[in-house]
């Protein structure tokens, strides 16, 4: 699992990437009440916003650490957005057929060490 400076996590298996938000991001946002995800088939671009996560505090944009086509979205989140607060690393947002991955993604220890400074 790798991490972006904008608090997304990503895992890659073959040509498929899975993307979510980190537990730190979820804690910072507070209780999440709504998640707006792209449609299956949508094109994601590295660094561009692809989803909105609404918490009791604010609406936050989620930025894509990958480029590619969305093959699957986590439909459970529409009824149970709180899954992200419960376990951010299993409550993925989207699965993507990969074209490219952002350069300079962080390892877990690097992310943990500096997440509060991003």
């Amino acid at each position: 699992m790798k991490f972006s400076k904008t608090h997304e996590w990503i895992t890659v298996e073959g040509k498929t990437a899975t993307v979510g938000v980190t537990d730190y991001a979820a804690a910072q946002m507070g209780d999440i009440v709504f998640v707006e995800l792209p449609d299956v088939g949508a094109k994601l671009t590295i660094g561009k916003s692809f989803a909105n996560v609404e918490s009791v505090k604010a609406v936050s944009e989620i930025f894509s650490p990958v480029s590619g086509r969305v093959t699957e979205v986590n439909a459970e989140l529409s009824d149970a957005p709180e899954l992200i607060n419960k376990d951010a690393f299993s409550a993925y947002l989207v699965r993507v057929e990969l074209d490219a991955v952002e350069d300079g993604l962080l390892e877990r220890d690097e992310y943990e060490a500096s997440k509060e400074s991003f």
């Binding site: 910072q28 209780d31 009440v33 709504f34 609404e54 009791v56 505090k57 604010a58 609406v59 936050s60 944009e61 957005p81 709180e82």
Partner: protein, 478 residues
């Protein structure tokens, strides 16, 4: 306290009608809109009703009740004089379709207010139509779109800083633009390099609040205006924080081309339940032709009338029926004329003085950023939360028990555990001292007895509404 529906008793009536003295007429049972079952209404007596709403009003809290330092909202006192003038028959007993000749006073009032707002902001012309700030933003963005269309340029993007009010990107999206966010620098100002990089030929406008939402005056405003204008873009001023600078610096002189004003903030008209808002748009001459129609004009005989097609006639049309929230405009006009040029400047100075005074007192027990602020300041409860578990939300809730309205929290988004205080010029030193003392007490208690702060407020009919459930599973009717 129970709901009016819960007070309902079958058959109880506030009014008993006398017996019918005309023949009874029954609607045909197949009449299209005939109700199939009786309306569900609370059945109460007149006294039940009066007590219910009187009880509710005693539980409401407004700026007339006490301190209301809601940052970015400018909850200044609404002078009662303004209510008096807005209640005058000459303003109230007219019809919007009445001919202009018999409504000269109303037209003159609208003309004068537009003039005064133009002088305060350094703009050339304007409209009073928009019903609130975000509506003013939307109106302005439609004008900007029409302007670029008229000169044959295809500009599809609007830049907003990450400290912007959420209405900026929302209005831009509503008007059909793509929103480009740029970060602030480490001191909270516009990141000039980021603006420079984002400001390409596809950008229609840069929307900026100045002072910004951290209560800081954008010291690089000339450079910012140079970058935006240099690439053919328009510089938009979000007037939310105009109270800090009115009578001192003018957006028009700083390089802004178009802006909205929140009369319900800067010019002391009521917010929300006290009456609708108003969000006049002011602009430079080159955008004037795109303003919503009609325009109030004055002829050489001093007579006022409503005209379409003023300044080239490229109006975007109407953005609201008739002339906006007209009586709100009367209240703002009263406020401006009562204060005069000196009073307007004085109000801004005292707003800034009050905020800095409160900021200095608060800095003794909460981090408040570095340097002097303008009309508002942002304190952070990040350390407090880390050390005691008490969050900005908890502190805000505890302030309710101290008989004051909490500040804005969790905004701007770039400060963690933010609390944004805007005392306004209308509060006395004693009020501010008492508020800071209460805040200090809460912070101290948080360190020794965090649970008591986490369970606040205890003095209200409802302590902590379940905001998560309210957002996830709202029940919107009885």
């Amino acid at each position: 306290m129970s709901l009016i529906f819960e007070k309902s008793v079958d058959g109880r009536r506030g009014v008993t009608f006398s017996a019918l003295d005309v023949p009874k007429y029954t609607l045909p049972p197949d009449a299209e809109y005939l109700r199939q079952s009786p309306a569900v209404l609370p059945e109460v007596s007149e006294l039940d009703l009066v007590r219910h709403y009187d009880g509710l009003s005693s539980k409401a809290y407004g700026v007339d009740s006490g301190f209301y330092p809601l940052g970015s909202c400018t909850m200044k006192y609404n002078p009662k004089l303004c209510e008096d003038t807005a209640a005058l028959d000459g303003f109230c007993q007219i019809h919007p379709l009445q001919g202009g000749l018999s409504a000269q006073g109303c037209l003159e009032a609208a003309y004068l207010l537009t003039e005064y707002l133009g002088r305060i902001t350094g703009m050339d012309c304007g409209t009073l139509q928009p019903a609130a700030g975000a509506h003013g933003e939307f109106t302005s963005l439609l004008m900007i779109k029409a302007y670029f269309k008229s000169i044959g340029q295809n500009r599809t993007k609007i830049i907003v800083p990450d400290s912007a009010h959420g209405t900026n990107p929302a209005s831009a999206a509503m008007a059909g633009f793509e929103v480009v966010n740029i970060p602030s620098d480490c001191d909270g100002f516009v990141d000039i390099d980021a603006l420079d990089a984002a400001m390409d030929g596809g950008v229609a406008a840069f929307m900026l609040t100045n002072p910004n939402t951290l209560g800081l005056f954008e010291k690089n405003i000339s450079k910012i205006a140079g970058i935006v204008h240099g690439r053919g873009g328009i510089l938009y001023y979000d007037g939310a924080n105009l109270n800090a600078v009115m009578g001192i610096s003018r957006p028009g002189d700083l390089g802004f081309d178009i802006m909205h004003i929140n009369l319900h903030k800067t010019f002391a008209t009521p917010h929300g339940g006290g009456g609708p808002g108003a969000g006049p748009v002011l602009c430079k001459e080159f955008l004037g032709g795109f303003l919503p129609r009609p325009t109030v004009v004055k002829d050489k005989n001093g007579r006022y009338s409503l005209k379409d097609g003023v300044r080239g006639g490229k109006s975007i049309g109407k953005t609201r029926a008739f002339f906006g929230n007209f009586l709100v405009c009367i209240k703002a006009l009263t406020y401006i004329t009562a204060l005069g040029a000196e009073g307007i400047t004085d109000a801004a100075r005292k707003a800034v003085l009050n905020a800095n005074y409160m900021r200095a007192l608060t800095s003794e027990f909460l981090p408040v950023g570095s340097g002097a602020c303008m009309h508002e300041f942002v304190a952070s409860c990040e350390e407090l939360k880390r050390d005691s578990g008490v969050s900005a939300l908890d502190v805000a809730k505890a302030l309710i028990d101290c008989k004051m309205h909490p500040p804005t929290i969790y905004f701007p988004l770039i400060v963690h555990e933010a609390m944004m205080f805007e005392p306004t010029e209308t509060e006395s030193k004693q009020t501010i001292d008492a508020a800071v003392a209460a805040l200090k007490q809460i912070i101290e208690t948080a360190k020794t007895n965090p649970e008591s702060i986490k369970s606040a407020p205890v003095s209200t009919p409802v302590g902590r509404p379940d905001e998560v459930k309210a957002a996830r599973k709202p029940v919107l009717r009885f």
